[in-house]
């Protein structure tokens, strides 16, 4: 078939848009490597910050640990409600009114600015329930923030499974839960995991919700639920705003970007696995 002029123009547009994004992304990474790469070494990864002002010497180990604790806790708190909501929307509620209402709620949640989520958890957890600035409060704030991401991506992964499987199973008189467990979930798991990893990457980089709930300038980040933690984005924010050490700020940014990139690449490879399964 002969392509028309408009098709060529559109293709050129698609390619240049894609290249533009790629160039911006590469520019960020190359710039971070240029400015901070020399400072990222084993000591920087494995040591605690030191010097005066704090962070001018030493490393960022507690911040890496703190960020990992925060996203792990956010995952633990959001995965069950997120997955359950997604299963309800795709398998049980379908096009009913309750499902439509829940979808609307989830979409609204996705639109809440993350600083508002942070302040809400501050008021509820940190102050009212007396948790103080803590890992628990930060994990909860991040969990609320990523919940809609997990619901939407899991629901889409479930809905992408061939509708005929559900039809065949229901015409055998087989229950929805059995079909879900034998057929639907095993097929959808890579897609669901991909969505969860993307959500984790999103949580790892979020600063606003943890600023008021969990983050400290210096902490050991031992994993104790009711103690404050250090976190990569907050450490970066402090280093940058206090002008303590611009080199270490760039190095911290590089580590954070690499962590998020790693999570996203893992998510992408899982999604492509899911596409192969669906075919």
């Amino acid at each position: 078939m002969k392509k028309t002029m408009i098709d060529y123009l559109l293709m050129a547009w698609f390619w240049s848009s894609g290249l533009l994004i790629l160039v911006i992304l590469l520019a960020i990474i190359v710039y971070l490597i240029w400015r901070g790469g020399a400072f990222v070494n084993l000591e920087f990864i494995l040591e605690s910050p030191s010097g005066f002002p704090l962070g001018t010497e030493g490393g960022i180990f507690p911040a890496i640990k703190g960020t990992l604790w925060l996203i792990l806790l956010a995952l633990v708190l959001s995965i069950v409600p997120g997955l359950m909501t997604a299963i309800y929307l795709s398998e049980y509620g379908r096009s009913g009114r309750l499902a439509a209402f829940i979808s609307l709620l989830v979409q609204s949640m996705a639109g809440v600015p993350s600083i508002i989520t942070g302040l809400f958890v501050y008021a509820l957890g940190v102050v009212t329930l007396g948790w103080g600035i803590s890992l628990l409060a930060g994990g909860l704030a991040l969990a609320i923030m990523v919940f809609p991401v997990i619901v939407v991506s899991s629901r889409n992964a479930l809905l992408a499974i061939d509708e005929n499987y559900r039809l065949v199973a229901s015409s055998l008189g087989v229950s929805k839960s059995y079909t879900l467990y034998r057929i639907i979930l095993p097929r959808a798991i890579p897609g669901i995991l991909a969505g969860i990893l993307l959500a984790l990457g999103y949580a790892a980089g979020a600063t606003a919700p943890i600023m008021v709930t969990a983050a400290a300038i210096i902490a050991s980040s031992s994993g104790a639920l009711l103690e404050p933690v250090m976190a990569l984005p907050y450490h970066l924010y402090i280093l940058f705003t206090e002008h303590s050490s611009i080199h270490h700020a760039y190095a911290t940014a590089l580590v954070l970007v690499c962590l998020v990139l790693f999570l996203n690449i893992l998510a992408l490879s899982l999604s492509s696995l899911q596409e192969r399964i669906n075919r």
């Binding site: 379908r94 096009s95 061939d162 005929n164 499987y165 039809l167 065949v168 199973a169 229901s170 015409s171 055998l172 008189g173 087989v174 229950s175 059995y178 034998r182 057929i183 095993p186 097929r187």
Partner: protein
Amino acid sequence: MNTVEFIDFSTFYGQKAVLRNINMKFTANSITAIIGPSGCGKTTLLRSINRTAELENGFNSRGDIRVLGQSINEYRNVSILRRRVGMVYQVPVALPLSIMENVLFGPKYYGVKNRSELEAITEKCLRRVALWDEVKDRLKRPASQLSGGQKQRLAIARALAVEPQLLLLDEPCSSLDPASTGMIEDLLTQLAEEITIIIVTHNLFQAKRISHETAFILEGRLIEKAPTNKLFESPEKPETQGFVSGLFG
């Protein structure tokens, strides 16, 4: 002896009527073909019998269908009804499991655990659909590797594995080649000695070849139901005459 009886049965999608006041009795242990132009309500009629039509949004019905003497709405648990009424769809569907697990999907759900019993069910059902010899060496392989015709016979085996007393087929051969179609037709003829079969088909030759009785549906109404030979050779209604001679296509 009537296994399925429609009593003044009508269905609607929202406000739109699909089936209008159907009254009809199906004869046990025989094949009844349902014919009619596209969109006349054949599939809805079939799917009303095992209450899968109601899974569609906005579906509602009036009147009654009695399956094996019991009203479909009186079944306390719809899964009991659906277990008695097997269904095979237009598109051959292999569940994403092995060939054996496809056959055993229903039985395992209904609690059969004994290994030798499960193996016996697999062999019996695959033999009944003449698929055993083709797949007996690769029962553990994914069912997705089968051809379209094999998948459709597997779908019938899967439906038979829960021992239904009725088998509903919705244009089961429309995506198959003539050889596979022939195999399925032979198989249905044999199965009709034991169970009641209702088949929706757009292929008038197929209706003529395999069915004992034929029902002609037009715009949601039952126009005529008669022994197949009579319906094709000397229909009573002018609409039937028109359809079977190719006028409504």
